[in-house]
Amino acid sequence: MVPMVEVPVPKEKWSGKVGTVALGASTADDGERKVLSIGGETGMPFLSYEGLGNRQLIAGEVVDDTSELIEVAVRPFGDAVNDPAAWAKRWVEEFGADLVCLRLRSTNPEGKDAPPEDAAQTVLKVLAAVDVPVIVYGCGHEEKDARTMEAVSNACAKVRLLLGQAEENAYKTISAAAMSNHHALIAFSNLDINLAKQMNILLSDFGVKAENIVMDPLMAGLGMGLEYSYSVNERIRMAALMGDRMLQVPMLCDVTSAWEAREASEENATWGDVVERGKWWEAATGLAALVSGADLLIVRSPLAAMVLQDAISNLRGGK
């Protein structure tokens, strides 16, 4: 039958668009590594009638120090967690990660205090094991990270890494290294659209080009302030679409924050099976990140990663 009424599709006329960042191979590379681009959206997340942009990607988390792992989250990797290269390989080959995110926790001065040169060797091993783009973080210790990331960047000049992370009070060393080695850079800010913008301005004033910046406005996990991140992300995306150039940068959300909630990993009979619950705890955090504007997720549980990969394809109508 012929419908009597026509329901309009309320498509917004946005003037701006999210920029794109390419990760993976660089011109100096041997050409073996995949190049993946993120960003490029011309509408709010997953509204195909406004413009989807590049596919949202998933980076699987690998840590080079097993002392603080949450066992239930990484259980499917078995012994591979003792070898970052093997761990990375399993992420890519078995669990469909688009990228690998390597955290050099071994460099922590309060832990193993591994020297930057050793950490850089670990990065090279991971790069040799997989053909996908790689994100590298230090240990979260400001002074040490500056030295570690400089060493990593210099050791991997052939590949286009994504380096974490530039912060308001610690961005110069890492930015300089990224610029000289043509690496992309994560601009971190703490749950505030103005700080996110400020961080992008600081980097661009320092000389980092927009095509090399991915911003991380801090994704709080489910039950741990997720709603703040959800709204900050939405506001960032809207500002970008309305033409704020300093926010037209692809967004990274580290959804491993989900594991900070005790519901994600604590055994409790009334809460159901912990494996299933943990998977969905991180997957729900990931979905909230995606729906609010994330271009790139860092994920810990391969079970959650598989849910999210499928959800991304499905949200994009199979594209």
Binding site: V7, P10, M44, G223, L287
Partner: protein, 440 residues
């Protein structure tokens, strides 16, 4: 509510004063602020009346299902983004019971429904509704099952049937309080609309094409049913997100008024049911209808709803008090923080990570963060000292150490005086807590 100018355009512009205001414009301004009634103008046309009534109706109709303390209210939303104000009526979750289920199966489901109840930051998170599904296609069997479920559970009901006779049979078998009929389609619209009107039950209308759905809704309204819920027939995540967004945005922006009703997402039999439930919770779903809900899924789903429907202006507060973390004893230090939930969770999480036993004193700052509470005078050496007293913290920790947030270093002198404890200024970022605790 329409603006004074919008109203003015619809008035006769006679400026005759019969409404007791000197001009039509003056009258329009009073109307806009609800200080006058349209009926006071004798010349206003029927057409203008209808238009004004339509434009002063809420963009999305409020629908009530059930009655009493368990009743469910959905709709009456005004925002597209929670940061613009807030989302008002949280997504409600329902699970289904087949009218062909065995006695045991029914008991198990009812037990489960009652058990899906958790407390988190002082709020109860629970399953909201039960649906009874007419798999038997037999009105009498359906009526029996509805009767049983309504006897054994106080949750509002959804009557899932294609058959108006089954709905009527259920209604006459037992005394139901405003169950939702699910659903009217092109196949059964006349019978369903008639049953809904007669029984005064809200009616769900289902169609997988929005134009057709709008058509159906018009027919249902023409039959005299006003309380309508929409099932957009979404089968996957993209359809859930896009259709929900189109319907919500059209209603709120008033670009199309025919679908100004709350949305029901039926995930029964869908491959990505849990993900659909999560997406619908974030994106404008009023009800999510599921076959079943495992607690391992319910906990993340309910917490997501709690997060999304938190009023951005009124942060969730944690109960003030003294919280033991990592089994503290007399030798463990006291740390204090505010009752802003995000701060509490971060600090508590970082103490847990340190694996060092400690007492965490949560001071009531009306949900304000450390710096805001301090600037607003709600976090002073006196309020902290009072919190220490009222929780008898010193009887539990004999160590004589109080660790304060790094941003409150200015308070340390006064606090030392007021409490007699040795004050240690903690890190500015909570992430530094493990290091500090290990160094004590």
């Amino acid at each position: 509510m329409p603006t004074a100018i919008e109203i003015f355009k619809l008035l006769p512009k006679k400026n005759c004063g019969k409404c007791n205001f000197p001009t039509c414009l003056a009258f329009a301004m009073q109307l806009a602020s609800s200080k006058a009634k349209l009926a006071d103008c004798p010349y206003v046309t029927e057409e203008a009346k209808a238009k004004l009534e339509a434009s002063s109706a809420p963009p999305i109709r409020l629908i009530t299902i059930g009655a009493g303390e368990n009743k469910v209210e959905i709709g009456d939303e005004t925002e597209l983004y929670r940061h613009d104000k807030k989302f008002f009526h949280a997504t409600r979750y329902a699970i289904a019971i087949s009218d062909q289920a065995s006695d045991r199966e029914v008991s198990v489901k009812l037990r489960r429904a009652a058990d899906l109840r958790f407390e988190r930051v002082g709020q109860i998170l629970a399953l909201d509704m039960l649906a009874v599904r007419n798999d038997s296609r037999d009105p009498a069997t359906f009526a029996e099952m509805v009767k049983r479920v309504s006897r054994e559970s106080a949750l509002p009901l959804i009557l899932m049937s294609q058959d108006p006779e089954a709905v009527r049979a259920a209604a006459s078998a037992t005394n139901l309080s405003r169950p939702l009929i699910y659903a009217a389609t092109f196949e059964n619209i006349e019978g369903m609309a008639a049953a809904a009107k007669e029984l005064k039950y809200p009616l769900a209308v289902r169609h997988d094409d929005l134009n057709g759905l709008a058509d159906l809704v018009e027919k249902v309204k023409a039959a005299g049913v006003e309380d309508i819920v929409l099932d957009l027939g979404a089968e996957d995540l993209q359809q859930t997100l896009e259709r929900n967004t189109i319907v919500r945005k059209n209603a709120i922006r008033k670009t199309f008024r025919g679908l100004g009703y709350p949305i029901l997402t039926n995930v029964i039999g869908r491959e990505r049911g849990m993900a659909m439930a999560l997406i619908s919770t974030m994106k404008y779903g009023g009800i999510v209808l599921m076959e079943d809900l495992d607690p391992a899924h319910a906990v993340p789903l309910f917490v997501l709803r709690q997060n999304i429907y938190t009023d951005p202006q009124v942060p969730i507060q944690v109960k003030a008090g003294l919280y033991p973390i990592n089994n503290p004893d007399k030798d463990s230090p006291i740390l204090f923080t505010v009752n802003f939930s995000l701060t509490y969770f971060t600090v508590a999480g970082d103490i847990e990570k340190s694996r060092m036993p400690a007492w965490l004193l949560v001071v009531d700052t009306e949900g304000l963060s450390v710096l805001t509470a301090f600037s607003a005078g709600k976090l002073t050496s006196e309020t902290v000292a009072e919190a220490l007293r009222s929780t008898e913290a010193m009887a539990k920790s004999g160590k004589g150490l109080l660790i304060i947030p790094g941003m409150l270093s200015r308070m340390s002198g006064k606090l030392q005086e007021a409490t007699g404890l040795k004050v240690i200024v903690g890190p500015k970022e909570s992430s530094g807590i493990p290091k500090l605790l290990r160094s004590l």
